[in-house]
Symmetry: C2
Subunit: 260 residues, 2 copies
Amino acid sequence: MRPNPESYTVRQVAGFAKISVRALHFYDEIGLLRPAYTGANGYRYYGSEELRRLQDILFYREFGFALDEIRRLLDSPGFDRPATLRSHRRQLKAQAGRIEQLIQTIDQTIMSEEKKTAMNPKKMYAGVSPKKQAEYEKYLTDRYGECATKGIAESKQKTRGWGPADFAREKAGNDELNREFACLLEAGVPPEDPAVQALAARHHKMVCRFWTPTPKAYAAMGDLYGEHPDFRTYYEGFHPKLVPYLAKAIRLYAERELKA
Amino acid sequence: MRPNPESYTVRQVAGFAKISVRALHFYDEIGLLRPAYTGANGYRYYGSEELRRLQDILFYREFGFALDEIRRLLDSPGFDRPATLRSHRRQLKAQAGRIEQLIQTIDQTIMSEEKKTAMNPKKMYAGVSPKKQAEYEKYLTDRYGECATKGIAESKQKTRGWGPADFAREKAGNDELNREFACLLEAGVPPEDPAVQALAARHHKMVCRFWTPTPKAYAAMGDLYGEHPDFRTYYEGFHPKLVPYLAKAIRLYAERELKA
DNA sequence: CTACGCCCTCACGTTACGTGAGGGTCAACC
DNA sequence: GGTTGACCCTCACGTAACGTGAGGGCGTAG
């Protein structure tokens, strides 16, 4: 029951503009974007003029304008848009500057934190405190049972003679590996690509320096990285979507290269 | 009645850390920073350990960490801080990139908007629509009475023969002037400095090309720039604190150079 | 005729506090 | 001993921009 043919329902408009229906309700409520008319059933119907206005709204919203300001901008036709934009530009510049500052400070903090743990190796496995180490071992045993117990034992034996430098080398190598994975992910290279699979091979060799997983166990390792919050945080530090990417690359590698 | 001498009340702590008392209440409420102990009267008392913790809290807050995350960070001793920081660094980088992007887009928009108004001069006074012009005239007459009426009349007569190019020239000159003011303000040069007063002289000459204010009227012009939202927006586009700075420079100039 | 999808209006939850209201406490001064 | 003024407390509502149900009407396809 659409009195006017050139009109769209909330869901349609939301689909066009990729915003939520609730946002449209809200924009109506605050008088930012009213529907062209409302049906007798209370339904909101929007016309092409409203769609154009919505475009403008989203444009300004992108820049972080408050909805209140946007309404004033759009509702006063003679408003000095350039001046307003310049004013906002200044704020954005200041924000960008502040963020750059923060990034520098954070870099320094990261460096000094890493130096601290490097200088204070105690009994750390590559920066993992004995307490955390124990927690991880418990987690793995609970999660994977005997298979994990054997893996941990093997790992402890293999690294028995290692010094802090050895652990640090492995950690650095793994960091580098993850950076490369993240780089390819960012570039849009799919997990089945030979370049990614080559990285997976390096990953597999790295794992084998600690223990020798069965093909099935290895295939599931990528999922492990997403399950424990500490692991996930570590991997997401390289790229927010690294975990599923890595998991797929690892699973593919296991299926193609290990089961054969 | 302070059981422990090395303890501080909310107000004291708030003073040290330059946060509000309410923030301390809130941090207590969410379990982020509990006082060392509470007196029988319900007063919160903080010790040096709490002060150190507060330092850490504010450090992470600076980077935009949520208070919830900060609590987790500080409460789990073995937490992988470097990884968390790197993860956050990524987010900051992404944010910085997005802002740079926005600034570029905004620059383009400003340019195209200004070109549009330049190409479509109609009856605009330097980009001011007749409608807005009327609004400003009413505002001035309401605010300053007859004095403003005469000024407006004089201004209209003086600019009678002007074309769009003349208005554009004046606008550009004024923009440049304001940029220089903003530059000196940013550099910390006080309004009484000869460099700023020289700019004020240029400002006065510019005003005189439109109308001839009495010394008192001229002295008050800076305040006008802060009173009307449109004017303020224009001036704050150059620098958020330009209005009071300009006002002071103008007042000083009027007192020193015009009343004599 | 009923199932399913879309629509509506409340109304509360979110973050990190700001801003009072209403009332007790502390130290000092008279 | 009373009073003043600065401080403290606990509610409790307001902010921005919606998200997320709850509970119920509307429309049409099988």
